[in-house]
Symmetry: C2
Subunit: 157 residues, 2 copies
């Protein structure tokens, strides 16, 4: 039995090689940060964070690295029409929820209802479905509490 790759560097190296790309310190730093955070950072946020771990890296390189990772399937690009794209390095299946109040994006603890979604595939006419993305909007715990507080205060006049 061959040993499975285990470290994030091993995973990255394999994915890169499978796509004919080279393993570099910058890409490793970007990937390592992405895989370790749940904050769904923008390219700029990745840049700021990674700079503290790598001697030197440029914003352009961060953009290039992020696109490389997306191309290798190691990251997902998320957009919400609020200016900048966000990246998610978590590859296990999960959904996102975006807070309408503070714009934070949180991972939902609930898991993928794959079977239910797949029922829908049958009903998509001539469109051949290969994947889907389910996103929720609403209010995160903090903002929901604030809103409750606000409407109570209102009710009490």
């Amino acid at each position: 039995m061959a040993t499975q790759p285990r470290s994030t560097d091993d995973i990255l190296r394999e994915a890169l090689e499978a796509n004919g790309q080279r393993f570099t310190e910058q890409r490793a730093a970007v990937y390592h940060f992405l895989a370790s955070t749940r904050s769904h950072p923008t390219a700029d946020e990745v840049y700021l964070q990674v700079r503290s771990a790598v001697p030197v890296i440029s914003l352009a390189t961060v953009y290039k690295s992020l696109e490389t990772l997306v191309g290798c399937g190691l990251a997902v690009k998320l957009t919400y029409g609020d200016g900048s794209a966000r990246y998610d390095g978590r590859t296990d299946p999960h959904h996102h929820a975006r807070c309408l109040s503070c714009s934070r994006i949180v991972d939902l603890p609930g898991q993928v209802p794959a079977e239910e979604i797949e029922e829908l595939h049958e009903d998509t006419g001539s469109f051949q479905v290969t994947g889907y993305r389910l996103e929720f909007t609403g209010y995160c715990a903090d903002c929901a509490a604030e809103r409750r507080g606000a409407s109570e205060a209102m009710a009490h006049g």
Copy 2:
């Protein structure tokens, strides 16, 4: 029984007034175009199309009008990480599917599985869900056919 508003202008006027906004020719033109197309245009595409219907309108006004419509709930802003945002003026419930090959966005004939999605709401931890967005990725009829053709040609060597 009061007469229900029926024309797109009436709908627009009511929605604008409900949000303290004024009814203008430019907003009407943008809304009318959005509501009548299934093409999910970018702001720039709206601009080009609307210019042929309205004496004069600027791109900046199109942007402002689109955001106004979104604010009034008469349009939905869609983003797909490929540069520019797209707008959808259809307010009836439906889902979108994006073709991975030609990037076209099509409306899915399938309807909203509201009950199934609502089951998920219960499992979203502390996040208070108010809405969701379900998007499919895959291949539209044309591109799916092309791909089939391509792989058959390959198989035949």
